[in-house]
């Protein structure tokens, strides 16, 4: 994990490392789409193409011991938090080697050892538990922060309001990361929120809010560092409003009847965080191809690993119900 002494300063090497991580997420997600269409992956899958800078920018700013709770769109967060592509892919294939040992799947990715408390398939479902995790850190005097990811759609659900209210009331070290990709599944923000600036949601609780361009990984990283400092210092939780874009449908196979082809093309052309960072890094064609080839190989290897993984026995279904 990249350690940065001073917030706001990232070396070119570190930034290139961020790019590598984002590219891994992108290629991983593309492979997931491909294998899903080939009929190999069961279930309900949501890819985070377009939101790579949020996952990498936020999570690279965390310290060891900080924890996250993710959403149904969790592959990026999970990779960024350190779970290997092999273990993640194996989970998507339902294998024992998977990060949730075949019990969770795409929407329930866990890696507790690495501080990933789990993706959550109920919108807003993880938020109160992040408040609770942060409460535990506070009660024990541990300098840790609990981070919840959620989308703009989640700002309308009760758990969001109750969890943020409680977190601010108790001044717990939590970070609420709003991944504002403008879509609650197929419903555009203008149809689901009465206010256009969702960072104002935090005002209702008197919570500090920070707004940042989510397609700029460096900006996300810096903003997160600032937010973490606030939370860790005992000043209470922070609402980090990250402006991002979902370049693809809500789920794999989503025909996106709710937005035009032109719009889809426009966001792909103008809001791709990888294109932006690649320009900033001034990566040569050769450099990129070399890096890309390396990443593609990692992803292909992950598919191989997953396909060769161990199928659970049917009756393994009875394990892990109780401690």
């Amino acid at each position: 994990m990249a350690k940065v002494e001073q917030r706001g300063t990232l070396s070119p090497e570190e930034l290139r490392d961020f790019f590598r991580e984002m590219l891994l997420i992108r290629r991983f997600e593309e492979k997931v789409e491909e294998r899903f269409r080939a009929g190999e992956l069961p279930g309900f899958l949501h890819v985070a193409i377009g939101q790579e800078a949020v996952a990498v920018g936020v999570i690279r700013a965390l310290e060891d011991g900080d924890v996250i709770a993710s959403t149904h769109r969790a592959h990026g967060h999970t990779l960024a938090k350190g779970t290997g592509p092999n273990e993640l892919m194996a989970e998507l294939y339902g294998k024992l080697e998977g990060c949730s040992h075949g019990y969770g799947g795409s929407m329930h990715l866990y890696d507790v050892e690495r501080g990933n408390l789990g993706a959550n398939a109920v919108v807003g479902g993880g938020l109160p538990q992040i408040t609770g995790a942060a409460l535990a850190f506070k009660m024990r005097g541990e300098p840790r922060v609990a981070v919840a990811f959620f989308g703009d759609g989640a700002t309308n659900i009760g758990t969001f309001h109750e969890a943020l209210n409680l977190a601010q009331l108790w001044r717990v070290p939590a970070l609420f990361v709003l991944e504002d990709n403008k879509w609650a599944e197929s419903t555009p923000e203008r149809q689901h929120s009465p206010i256009s600036d969702l960072s104002k949601r935090a005002d209702a609780f008197g919570m500090t809010a920070i707004k940042v361009d989510g397609q700029d990984v460096e900006a996300v990283y810096k903003a997160t560092k600032k937010a973490l400092e606030h939370a860790r210092s005992g000043k209470g939780p922070v609402f980090l409003h990250v402006d991002t874009y979902r370049l693809v449908g809500h789920y794999i196979g989503d025909p996106q009847v709710y937005r035009t082809k032109e719009e889809q093309k426009e966001v792909r052309e103008h809001h791709d965080p990888l294109t932006q960072l690649r320009g900033k890094l001034e990566l040569s064609e050769d450099d990129f191809d070399e890096l890309d080839a390396e990443i593609v190989e990692i992803v292909e290897a992950a598919v191989e690993f997953a396909k060769n993984g161990t199928d659970p026995k049917p009756e393994d279904a009875l394990k892990n119900v109780y401690a």
Binding site: V122, T131, T159, N165, A323
Partner: protein, 330 residues
């Protein structure tokens, strides 16, 4: 041996655990200065302070979820849901989150949280403050469910619930808080999943929970006077259920009545009846009788409320039906 009320017994278990263990704390609505709507946590704020006797906003989803989150971090929170009717507001967190984290993570996560709650009719609060909803939660794999009926049981079971590594929904009955019983100086934990035989008998087994344990004991006394010997068994833990104890008792008596205050239809008693018919099929001499509330929301008017929920008389009638049926040979 000190005499404790059911209320004091709950408090005793909470306080002892909190004295011994910094990871245990209580949270809930109006539990600090006010001492809880049922007075269970009275005095605890003074001893443990506001951090560990933590008042929450009226916010069941968040308080349940926060308890779950803290539990996953290794704390052993006891969250009080003021009335079990309000469990409905926290059900997403309890059912989708607490019950399933361990499973969905393939065994990585442990959720040692306890949700204490209470309910029960007999005081005319109407339809939203006295329901008995334990059947909803026994249906959820991943949850344990306790329903204690006496001071000694509630103390020993709550202790075990707090120290169980699984989420436990812990039901108390409102009308039992004043019930007194002598309890040992030392708190003896009662393992979850063990039934208690309150009274031995030869002719009929009554399997009862909560308030109905006491109604069943009264009915048993009356039946005794009519020459019918009744065994009263309280499962105490509804999930996991002590099936062996229930089956053993019915094998002895050959007749079974299941009694709870909750609505009979689709109730916990239906599952008990199924367990008993399967496990003691060849020992049954009469159809299994069920006693519970009528299939209606709880009415306000006292005359209607009392008519809806079961009492000792209903249990006695059920006992007589099981015996009568057999005597006729029908």
């Amino acid at each position: 041996m000190p005499e404790l009320t059911y209320r004091e017994a709950v408090r005793d278990a909470l306080s002892r655990a909190m004295r011994e263990d910094d990871d245990v704390f209580v949270m809930g609505e109006d539990i600090a200065e006010m001492g809880g709507s049922m007075g269970v946590t009275q005095g605890m704020l003074d001893e443990f302070g506001p951090e560990r006797v933590r008042n929450t906003p009226i916010s069941e989803m968040a308080l349940a979820g926060a308890a779950i989150g803290a539990a996953i971090q290794g704390m052993r929170p006891v969250a009080e849901i003021m009335y079990e009717d309000f469990l409905t507001l926290a059900t997403e967190q309890i059912v989708n989150q607490a019950a399933k984290h361990r499973y969905m993570s393939g065994g990585q996560v442990t959720v040692p949280v306890t949700f204490r709650t209470q309910g029960g009719a007999g005081w005319s609060p109407g339809a939203q403050h006295a329901q008995q909803l334990e059947a909803w939660f026994v249906h959820i794999p991943g949850l344990k469910v306790v329903f204690a009926s006496t001071p000694s049981d509630v103390r020993g079971l709550l202790w075990s619930a707090i120290y169980d590594d699984n989420p436990v929904v812990f039901f108390e009955h409102r009308t039992l808080y004043g019930l007194k019983e002598e309890v040992p100086d030392e708190l003896e934990p009662i393992p979850l999943g063990k039934a208690r035989v309150h009274r031995e008998g030869e002719d009929v087994t009554v399997i009862a929970t909560g308030r109905l344990v006491h109604e069943a004991l009264e009915a048993a006394q009356q039946a005794e006077e009519q020459g019918v010997s009744v065994e009263v068994v309280d499962p105490r833990t509804l999930q996991p259920l002590d099936e062996d104890a229930l089956i053993a008792s019915v094998k002895k008596t050959n007749r079974c009545v299941v009694a709870h205050e909750a609505v009979t239809r689709m109730g916990f008693g239906a599952e008990v009846a199924s367990v008993v018919q399967y496990g003691a099929f060849d020992w049954l001499d009469a159809p299994i009788e069920r006693v519970g509330a009528k299939f209606t929301p709880l009415p306000f008017a006292p005359v209607m409320e009392e008519w809806c929920v079961p009492h000792a008389g209903d249990v006695l009638e059920a006992i007589q039906r099981t015996v009568g049926r057999n005597a006729d040979g029908n």
